[in-house]
């Protein structure tokens, strides 16, 4: 790998972002705790009957993951924006969309993957249907990268703002609707014993499309908000 080449830049960026997350590993746990607490609130609010909870378990896990991901989105560019390295990324000669794709990948690895790892635990808290034990993490594995990619486009638009939390939710959540419908829809169909492959395939198709288009859109959005 030649120094100065695009692949070297991407590797350096990946390593740097991973090291930054590792040095503040406490912060990386916050989305997990948040999802755990949100899931724990539901039995308190709607009663602890196993039947009721089992009926809505997959949906609650999906919404909890989605909200935890939404909270974590804010950290995607904030640190880099504050210390000025984001502007250096924009100015660098390498394709910005590729660099952003690296950042999104690290962000997904460090925030969404742990959530998928604890999703069986979240499911058990809500007496998840045994038939869904393998399907739920699989569906999350397809949904969460989509959520990260779509979310990154919106975060790029709000990057310079002081209090962007509520606005970010307003921008992102309408775009999350199809993902949620297909992801949770697959689980609900499986729970009722219906075929569930079609929504998963739709999700996979959407993921392929977003993998190509979202970094480009993210780069365009970032160029608008840092100008």
């Amino acid at each position: 790998m030649k120094p100065g080449s695009t692949s070297a830049a991407c590797t350096a960026l990946l390593r740097r972002d991973l090291v930054l997350v590792w040095r503040r590993r406490g912060d990386a746990l916050t989305p997990l705790l948040f999802a755990l607490i949100v899931v724990a609130l539901f039995p308190l609010a709607i009663g602890a009957q196993a039947d009721t909870l089992r009926h809505v378990a997959a949906g609650i896990v999906f919404v909890a993951t989605l909200l935890a991901g939404l909270l974590a989105l804010d950290t995607l560019f904030r640190g880099d924006y504050e210390d000025g390295s984001l502007e250096q990324l924009v100015l660098s000669p390498h394709p910005l969309s590729l660099l952003l794709a690296c950042k999104i990948a690290v962000h997904w690895l460090t925030t969404a993957l742990p959530l998928i790892a604890i999703s069986p635990l979240l499911g058990e808290l809500l007496y998840l249907d045994p038939a869904l034990r393998t399907l739920l993490p699989l569906a999350l594995l397809l949904t969460t990268p989509l959520l990260s990619l779509i979310g990154a486009v919106c975060v790029a638009l709000t990057v310079g703002m002081q209090r962007s939390g509520m606005l970010l939710a307003l921008l992102v959540l309408p775009l999350y609707v199809p993902v949620l419908i297909f992801g949770a829809g697959a689980c609900n169909a499986a729970q009722m014993g219906l075929p569930f492959l079609a929504p998963l395939l739709w999700l996979a198709a959407g993921l392929v499309l977003a993998l190509v288009l979202a970094p480009l859109a993210c780069a365009a959005a970032l160029r608008i908000s840092i100008s």
Binding site: M161, L167, L171, I181, I224
Partner: protein, 250 residues
């Protein structure tokens, strides 16, 4: 430069557009008002009762044109947003941002009248039906665009960011519609078609079409008014605004 591009550039300059908009806007409102009165009279008084829904169906003379306008306004906003981002035309930024609140208002009216109609017909104010849900998320998309526009200090940068969001929404809107359709459906299918015969009687169709024309004109009148204000705000301090203000003060 040929005549067409010259005309295009001229109309795209804020002073010229402001002058044209000032002349056109009252006409839009006036014709929309007259057509609206005639259309409402035709719809609420002249049109026969529906054999199945009785008088309750008459809300479609408000509901359906507003629903069309909600989508039309989004399309209008998206086209202007595209022009604003690609060719960096200041006028298009202002036009796109002017149509967002108007479109949101039409979408909101659609939701309210729809739920008023739903209570006697379906027995409930709200159902999680595909069309209702996608209409609701259309409203949220409008709110997102408006919210982003007002959250950024610099007006032109705000307009560009919000325009970009509007374009992302264009990609998303059919997907939302498709996904909720797949998810749940109760709403009746379309009865008015552009091509082929409509499934609605002519005595009910003409007031509906008249109302549609009236809402379009009202939309343009409202967008022109907002654009005029937006242009003056954006160009405050420029010569043409100063002469305008001085002429107004005399």
């Amino acid at each position: 430069m040929n005549a067409l591009t010259l005309w295009f550039h001229r109309i795209g300059s804020p002073p010229t557009f402001h002058r044209i908009a000032t002349a056109v806007q009252p006409w839009c409102y006036a014709i929309a008002f007259v057509l609206g009165i005639v259309g409402l009279y035709g719809g609420l008084v002249l049109a026969p009762r529906d054999y199945q829904q009785g008088d309750a169906y008459r809300i479609i003379f408000i509901h359906v044109p507003c629903a069309w306008m909600g989508l039309f306004a989004y399309a209008f906003m998206a086209v202007n947003a595209f022009v604003a981002l690609v060719w960096r035309i200041k006028l298009s930024e202002v036009l796109a941002m002017a149509s967002a609140p108007v479109g949101a208002a039409f979408t909101f009216i659609t939701l309210v009248t729809g739920s008023l109609w739903g209570k006697p017909m379906w027995g409930t104010w709200w159902t999680w039906d595909a069309r209702l849900t996608s209409e609701l998320f259309l409203l949220f998309l409008y709110f997102g665009v408006i919210g982003l526009y007002h959250a950024i200090e610099d007006r032109r940068q705000a307009a560009r960011a919000a325009s970009f969001l509007a374009l992302v929404g264009v990609v998303n809107l059919p997907i939302v519609h498709f996904s909720v359709n797949w998810w749940n459906t109760l709403h009746q299918g379309s009865t008015v078609r552009l091509l082929g015969p409509s499934k609605i009687d002519a005595s009910m169709l003409w007031p509906l079409l008249l109302m549609a024309v009236a809402t379009h004109l009202w939309f343009f009148g409202s967008v022109l008014a907002r654009t005029r204000a937006g242009l003056v705000e954006l160009d405050a301090g420029k010569d043409w605004v100063r002469t305008l203000a001085l002429a107004r003060a005399e």
